[in-house]
Structures are given as structure tokens and as C-alpha cells.
């Protein structure tokens, strides 16, 4: 009998060990099936298919209106045109489509896509890299569009007058009514390995002088801005860069880090490492981290890393409950290829449910996946594939309003491209 009891306890211990292992994986968490599943509507196409739309960006205004921007090939000119529209009808139609640019936008897109923020007065502030024949990301442009009507002509956002790299932007509307823009800047380092910022005091109509907020940034991965404490604290996440001596060094770890400012951007803290992934690469990953803050000021981040070894590669989640001074150990959401850099985007709804979207490779094709994390249990839902698998899909973006989750992405097939938008009811509605 004692022998049987002994085996029983051994089996129990083994069972507990394995159940513990599984909990860090969002896709096979034992409790995840208890979370409600997401039911998506049919996807709609965004933009004019003849213009090969690409590079969507989504944001929700303070009044709860959802906007989507995208670019299309410029007719008769090099580069692309940028458009913005309101998303109506639960994500089934676009309204008030407006062109944002007068001069062509850089066609590189992707990680360096055109972005916008919504001002407290309902205006739109948008930024992008102009076409450059010298650099991947040349001059930065900003425009402003009031609630309706045409956009203002482009103004140059970078104040250095230099012919160098400026791009890979982040833009956010602060609770104080200011618009904050950040980007990777090459004025002091041709590799654009510094993060710069400019602030608009008038809701995006104009931006002030540029200032450096971080050095040794990975020169091709977008920074992301968010706010805590009702706007008292600003946080900026970016991928680190080991040295200023060029991007090919043996110890060039490219993990993500976060800096904080409690004085409106005048000064920033020393960088805090978000996760000690130890990922080393020798080129340009073109993948920043996805970051959002919930109503309890908990910072959520989701990102891809190649890890220290190929079997560590995957999409990971981490959070900070102390305003970004430290981060909890990462949790694996799903494994992913180690040699293909993948993109993520996240958003938090009114109930603090986190929605994470990312690319992974399925049947030798990049596809868009999504899962949500309950704020109550901290558990991840089963993973849902959002794209239909017919095209290669890249760069997902997500946002929410009071009722719905919105996911948009670029699809590519050869030289052709299109933008799709899908909507689902929020899980806790």
C-alpha cells in the first residue's frame, strides 16, 4: 500500500510540474478554454484596389470614433498617397475618406509606415517619412486635419535641415492635450541610432523643437509612446542597440527597453530592460515592441524575439505594475521561427482585456493571429487566426472602441497588395 501511495505522489508531482509549464503558454493554457472566443465579422477591403493599398494604422479618438489610415500608389509620381477614414457600421464601412498628403510619402512603409494621433478637439495629426533617394527614411513630414475638410500642407518635423535618416515613428495624444511624436534620427549618427522627440502644443497643428531622448537605439525599429498617471508619466519603449560603432558587432543584443519621463519629456530615466531575451542580430529587424497601458496603469507589452537559442524564439508577453520601473518575467504566448522577424500590436479595452495581434508562419505563409488576455484571471484565450491564408499578411494593427475590436493588416501577393479590416465584438460586452 505504501508503494502505491508513493507512486501516486510521484505521478501527482509530475502532473503538477507539467501543468505549471503549460501556464506560460497562451495557446495551451489549461484554463484558456474558459475564456470567451472571438467571433469576427467578414473582412472589408480598405482603399482603392487599383492603388495597391498598404500599411494601415488604426486609432480611436477620445469620443470613441475609430479611424483607419493607409497608403496607395501615387498616380504619376514616385511614392505613395496617404488616406484616412472613419470606420462606421461596426467596421463594415468607411466614411469621410480624406487624402492627407500633397507630396508623396515614402514607399518603404512597413515598420516605417505613416501614423496619426487624434487630438482632443477631434483633429488628426499625421507624420511620415517623405520620399528620399538617399536614405531609407529621409525627411519627416507632419500634417494636420481638422474634424472635416482638407489637411494642411506638409511641414518638416525634423529641425536639423540635414540629409540623413529620420523615420520609424511613434505618435501619441497625451491626456494633457499635447501630441507627442518620436522617431529614430540620424543627425548625430548616420545609422539613426538615436530616439528623438517633438511635442505639439496645439493639437498637432505644429511641432516644437526636436530633442534627443535616448541613444543607442536599434536604427529601424519604431519607438512606442504611452502615458500613465493621467499623463503625469510618459513612457517610450524602443529596441536597444549595443554600441554606436555600427550595427555589425558581435555583442549587439537587440532587446527592448523602456524610458520614463515625469516632466513632460524634459528628462528621461535610464533605460529599463523589458526582458532579458539576449537576442543578437546583425541587420535591421524592422520590428518594435507593442505597448499599451490599462486603466490601472499596468503596462502590457508583446513582442517577437529570436531568443538566445532557436527554440526560445516566439511571441512573448510581459507586464509592469510599477509604472515601467521593472517588468515581470516574460510569458511565451506562442513559439515562432527564429530566423524571421515578426510583428505584434496590442490594445486594451474598457475592461482592461488585452488584445494581442501578431504574425506567425502557417503553411509557409505569414498570417495574422490574435488572442486576448483576461484582466481578472491573467489567462490567455485560445489563439484565433484572423487572416484567411490566401495572401502573405503583414503588420497587423488593432484598436478598440466601446463595442468592438478592430484589426487591420496588409496583404501581399507578388507586386500586388491590399488592406483588410475585420471587426469583432469585445469579449466582455
Amino acid at each position: 500500500m505504501k508503494k502505491i501511495e508513493g507512486w501516486f505522489f510521484v505521478l501527482m508531482a509530475i502532473s503538477l510540474v507539467f501543468s505549471g509549464c503549460n501556464r506560460t503558454r497562451g495557446d495551451d493554457s489549461s484554463g484558456s478554454s474558459l475564456l470567451p472566443t472571438i467571433a469576427f465579422n467578414e473582412a472589408i477591403l480598405v482603399g482603392n484596389p487599383q492603388g495597391h493599398p498598404a500599411d494601415p494604422f488604426l486609432a480611436t479618438s477620445g469620443a470613441g470614433e475609430v479611424f483607419v489610415s493607409w497608403t496607395e500608389e501615387s498616380s504619376g509620381a514616385e511614392g505613395r498617397d496617404g488616406f484616412i477614414a472613419k470606420v462606421k457600421g461596426g467596421g463594415q464601412q468607411l466614411a469621410e475618406i480624406r487624402q492627407m498628403n500633397q507630396e508623396p510619402i515614402s514607399g518603404h512603409g512597413g515598420e516605417n509606415l505613416a501614423k496619426f494621433a487624434l487630438a482632443s478637439d477631434g483633429g488628426v495629426a499625421a507624420i511620415w517619412s517623405a520620399v528620399s533617394h538617399v536614405h531609407h527614411a529621409g525627411t519627416l513630414k507632419s500634417v494636420y486635419g481638422a474634424v472635416s475638410g482638407t489637411f494642411t500642407p506638409e511641414e518638416t518635423l525634423n529641425d536639423d535641415q540635414g540629409v540623413t535618416n529620420h523615420g520609424f515613428t511613434g505618435i501619441a495624444s497625451g491626456p494633457d492635450g499635447r501630441i507627442y511624436a518620436s522617431w529614430l534620427d540620424g543627425r548625430n549618427d548616420e545609422e539613426a541610432a538615436e530616439v528623438f522627440m517633438a511635442i505639439s502644443e496645439d493639437g498637432g497643428k505644429s511641432f516644437g523643437k526636436n530633442f534627443q531622448i535616448s541613444t543607442f537605439a536599434c536604427p529601424c525599429c519604431r519607438p512606442t509612446i504611452a502615458f500613465l498617471d493621467g499623463g503625469e508619466t510618459m513612457i517610450v519603449a524602443h529596441r536597444r542597440f549595443a554600441t554606436s560603432s555600427g550595427y555589425i558587432v558581435s555583442d549587439n543584443v537587440r532587446d527592448h527597453q523602456l524610458i520614463r519621463s515625469t516632466d513632460g519629456g524634459k528628462t528621461f530615466s535610464e533605460p529599463v530592460l523589458i526582458s532579458d531575451d539576449g537576442w543578437v542580430t546583425y541587420g535591421c529587424p524592422h520590428a518594435g515592441i507593442a505597448l499599451d497601458v490599462d486603466s490601472q496603469d499596468m503596462i502590457h507589452v508583446v513582442w517577437w524575439t529570436g531568443g538566445r537559442t532557436p527554440d526560445e524564439a516566439g511571441i512573448y508577453y510581459a507586464s509592469s505594475e510599477d509604472g515601467g520601473r521593472s517588468f515581470a518575467p516574460r510569458q511565451l504566448i506562442v513559439q515562432a521561427p527564429h530566423d524571421t522577424v515578426l510583428h505584434t500590436h496590442i490594445t486594451v479595452d474598457k475592461n482592461d482585456t488585452l488584445y494581442a495581434s501578431w504574425i506567425n508562419i502557417e503553411e509557409n505563409r505569414p498570417q495574422i493571429f490574435l488572442a486576448h488576455r483576461s484582466a481578472v484571471t491573467g489567462q490567455w484565450s485560445p489563439i484565433h487566426r484572423v487572416s484567411d491564408g490566401a495572401w502573405n499578411t503583414v503588420y497587423p494593427v488593432v484598436t478598440v472602441d466601446e463595442e468592438n475590436l478592430y484589426v487591420a493588416w496588409t496583404e501581399r501577393k507578388g507586386e500586388d497588395s491590399q488592406v483588410r479590416l475585420r471587426t469583432a465584438s469585445l469579449v466582455d460586452n
Binding site: 512597413g110 515598420e111 560603432s245 555600427g246 555589425i248 558587432v249 558581435s250 542580430t281 546583425y282 541587420g283 535591421c284 529587424p285 524592422h286 520590428a287 529570436g306 527564429h338 530566423d339 524571421t340 522577424v341 515578426l342 510583428h343 504574425i359 508562419i361 505563409r365 505569414p366 502573405n392 503583414v394 503588420y395 501581399r412
Partner: protein, 164 residues
Amino acid sequence: MRLKSCSELGLMVTVFTLTLFLVSLFVTAQTQEPETVVIRGRVVDLTCAVKGKVMTEAWNNVGQDHMMADGNIQKGCAAMCLTGGHPAALFSDNAITAVFACNPRGSGVSEYTLAKYAAAPVELQGYWASAGVFVPQKVRRTTLSVESRYGSGGWRTLDCAIMH
């Protein structure tokens, strides 16, 4: 010349056809495109790598920073030397597995150079010119963004005609 019979005509046509066939075979053999292959490893400066091996009896100079004869470390040596025109090679499985037939300087549209990939894990497309000597035509990093891998494939053209 008058042909004595139809069989002679047939014979001549056969001989002519055979000759044409053999000549075309010969010409094809002479002008056949070499087989394009992909090889993998790290781009190294051959001179520094071999010097380091001789000095230290180990492949210590296959990274970006190299040990000098005086024992000091030269930061960024690989990129610097390859930019300067030193011969380039491929390092994999703890050995030099290919010596590149060229170290292109890069210019204009073919701006890509091996120096840009110094010490980095890469794939090179090209062909073997002779034992151990590889003619690189295209290069890409082993790790690529998803857009590159599933779009253009991330390959960059190397032009051996643009020499130092």
C-alpha cells in the same frame, strides 16, 4: 555533285544532322552556365582570419573585432579591412569553407558589399569557380524581416565587376 541514289542523299542528311548535333553539344558544353548554389556561414576577412589562426592556433579573428599581432584588439576590424579591399571568405563549421572570387566595392544600384555583412551569418548565392573558390552573386542575412523573407526574399545583388 550528282547523287547516285536516294540512299546516298539519306546518308548525307544523316551525317550532316549528326555533325550538327555533335557541334551543338560541344558548344553547349563550352558555354554552359555554372550551377547556382546557396552556401551559408559568416563573411570574414580572409587575411585577418588566417593570421589570427596562425597566431593563436584558434579561429579568434572571425568576428568583427580582431586581435592584432601586439595583442591589442582592433574594434570593427572585419568591416574595416573588407571595406579596404582585403580578400573575403566564408567561415562555417569552424573552418574557412569558401574563398570569394571577389570582394566587390559596390556602387550605384549594386551598392551592396561583403563588408556590410562582415561577421554576420549570411546566405550567399553564386557558383563554384574551382575547388574552394566561390563567385558570390547575391547575399542575404540569415535572419530576415517577414516582409523580406516572404516578399523579395531579402537577396541583395553583389557585382563582382565593381572591384576595389
